[in-house]
């Protein structure tokens, strides 16, 4: 019997399936953690710092030029987030940081509404020691910063109040991203899985299994929520549901996600790709080729893909090859994961 949070006591499983031997999961796990997650959060924390600096400059010397600089810094930061967005695991799960970094999709315009309330209120409340730990996730991260930099309701160049709010949010955002980066630097993925006493528990395998589950779910989100839903692939078009549509990052975000997928597959020694090659070489290569195809197809989409100058039919027609390619990737990933001996979500992904 345990009470959360309790970090694991290590008990190494005596049995692992197929061709993979005990300890071999460390290869892909460490490769992904060191190169995608740790480095990803380092970059994210670093670009969050740049964003705060540019925001400070904007508020000290408000002009279109300093606003543009801050917007550029925001774009770099939001794209760094795309590198690690697939993994809702570990330090980012504390204090709802994952959802605070990006409150999306904000179907009801909660961010705008709450930012307006903050702007109209006493700015001193934001200096209270515990303000940000209890603040709504809608105003704590990139979605709020994007609104303050791009939404017509906010004028950081003309309004000192708006700019002060932007600085406060950006400052908190930097604090959060640095905290996550530090926690990853000082820890490892195995620290974030929950021991199951007496069950022959392999922390590397369990951690990697959670990574793979997150990858599968993120791939679905890229296809469904990021691509299909806003363009009305299966229903009504609503381009405002696209991710970071105000800053015109919707397509670039997808491209970045698809690039990170290929890294996840190939990092570590052995990598997931190499382990998959031992189990089913044909499937391992099919998946690899599909991941590359995803990147190519996303890069082929016109840069104004999410702009209003295309009809819904045009957009669907343009998106079709990429939708199909990601869909194939989902099938290959799912088969590969099963063949490697992972049991992902029999009940957790298919209950009632």
């Amino acid at each position: 019997m345990k009470y959360f949070p309790k970090l694991i006591a290590l008990a190494i499983s005596a049995s692992t399936p197929l061709l993979v031997s005990a300890g071999q999961w460390e290869g892909p796990l460490n490769g992904i953690v060191n190169n995608v997650v740790k480095q990803g959060y380092e970059s994210y924390a670093s670009s969050s710092k740049t964003l705060l600096e540019r925001t400070n400059t904007l508020c000290a010397s408000p002009s279109q030029a300093t606003l543009h600089d801050a917007q550029e810094a925001f774009q770099a930061n939001a794209l760094d987030w795309q590198q690690v967005q697939w993994l809702n695991f570990g330090p980012v799960t504390y204090f709802m940081r994952y959802y605070a970094f990006e409150y999306w999709p904000d179907k009801k315009g909660v961010t705008q509404r709450q930012l307006r309330t903050l702007v109209q209120g006493d700015p001193a409340v934001m200096d209270a020691p515990k303000f940000w730990t209890s603040a709504s996730i809608a105003v704590r991260g990139l979605t709020a910063i994007e609104s303050l930099l791009y939404h017509p309701d906010f004028e950081p160049v003309k309004s000192a109040e708006h700019c002060r709010l932007l600085e406060k949010v950006t400052d908190h955002h930097l604090e959060s991203s640095v905290a996550v980066a530090k926690q990853w630097q000082n820890g490892k993925a195995q620290d974030w899985v929950f021991d199951e006493e007496g069950t022959g528990f392999d922390p590397e395998k369990v951690a990697l299994e959670l990574f793979l589950q997150q990858w599968i779910e993120h791939m679905s989100a890229v296809k469904d929520a990021k691509l299909e839903t806003p363009i009305g692939y299966n229903g009504r078009e609503n381009l405002k549901l696209a991710e970071f549509y105000r800053s015109d990052l919707s397509l670039k975000a997808i491209q970045k996600n698809l690039q990170s997928y290929r890294e996840i597959y190939h990092l570590g020694s052995p990598s997931l790709y190499e382990l998959a090659k031992q189990t089913n070489p044909a499937l391992a290569d099919q998946f690899d080729e599909q991941l590359t195809q995803n990147i190519k197809l996303a890069l082929q989409l016109p840069s104004d893909f999410f702009h209003t100058n295309h009809t819904q039919e045009e957009r669907i027609s343009l998106a079709k090859p990429l939708v199909k390619s990601i869909s194939n990737s989902q099938s290959y990933l799912s088969s590969m994961v099963t063949q490697l001996g992972f049991q992902i979500g029999f009940n957790s992904r298919d209950g009632d």
């Binding site: 009470y3 049991q343 979500g345 029999f346 009940n347 209950g351």
Partner: protein
Amino acid sequence: MLSRRSFLAISSALSGAVMTAPSWATLTQQDASKKLYASAYSLNQQEHFFGLFDDKGDIVWSSQLLDRAHAPVVHPSQSIVGIVARRPGFFMDFFDVSTHKRIIRIEPSKEYHFYGHALFTSDGNHLITQENHYPSGQGKIFVREWPSGHVIKSFSSNGIGPHESVLLNDQVLVIANGGLKTHPDNDRKILNLETMKPNVTYLSLKDGTILNQSSNSGELHQLSIRHLDVNQHGRVALGFQYQGEMWDQVPLVALSRIDQPELEYLPIPEEVRVRFKQYCGSVCFDSSGEILAISTPRGGLVAYWHVDSKTFLGIENCRDVCGLVATDKPHEFLLTSGIGSQLKNNPVQNVSKLIKKHPKLHWDNHLRQINT
């Protein structure tokens, strides 16, 4: 202890027709203390079974199914078990354990489907099914004659999506109307996300009158009331599945009573609530009725409360856990998971014991104990 071989030998000797199916006590006569548990399970995406296992976790009986199923139904006296198809379900298969034969398949009426759960009345003479009249989306309760399956009474469930129900006593059925309107043409797509209004309804089985009905408040209308259990003191526990955003802070567990108009939400430490990922699997009281257990496969844990004091007691981590039953021992539960574990856990004594792990087998959503 009864071995698998002797169990099957007795089963074979006792083979008979529906109405002559032996009692559970007869079937397990060599060992009166023998416990049996029922659950669906799968070996892979193609091979699905319904099985009974004993206290050691050994499978003593199984029958192949065409597809994954949801919840078992156990006849209170005869050695008959049933399994309900997953939502939208169009069959329930019942088996005579002694003969290993499927004795009857019950199908819903035209324009209805099952929800994955059903139950027998305490005398075993009737089967109660929850169904969706999918052209209208209205929930229905059918009382069927056993073993023919013929409908002898039907009532409105007084809500949409009656997923699971339990008997408060012989006259009162407690129904978890989950609130989700679906149509089998669209599988499980929710058609009323913006207007859904789940409730728990206490229904008279004599005349279908509503004896009590409780709902979540308006802002929690997407909190689907999906699974429930009742203890010997008439306390009803409810497990929710939230259809809103992952980040919304909503209650996930509540208590109810027939004489209490409002739901009473149970406390959960926020760090545990977040791990539920807005999803409760099974709801179960222990044999004493003092302890409540709720499984969450998405969170990979079972959470426990002391019912009278409404105190959160803690959790047991178990990946992909969903199946949950009380054993005969006070405060003790048996858990099954999608990674093949069968685990006994006593949250009061802080004792946990892995009974068995079937590494190639996935235990499906719900588990039932057979009172032999």
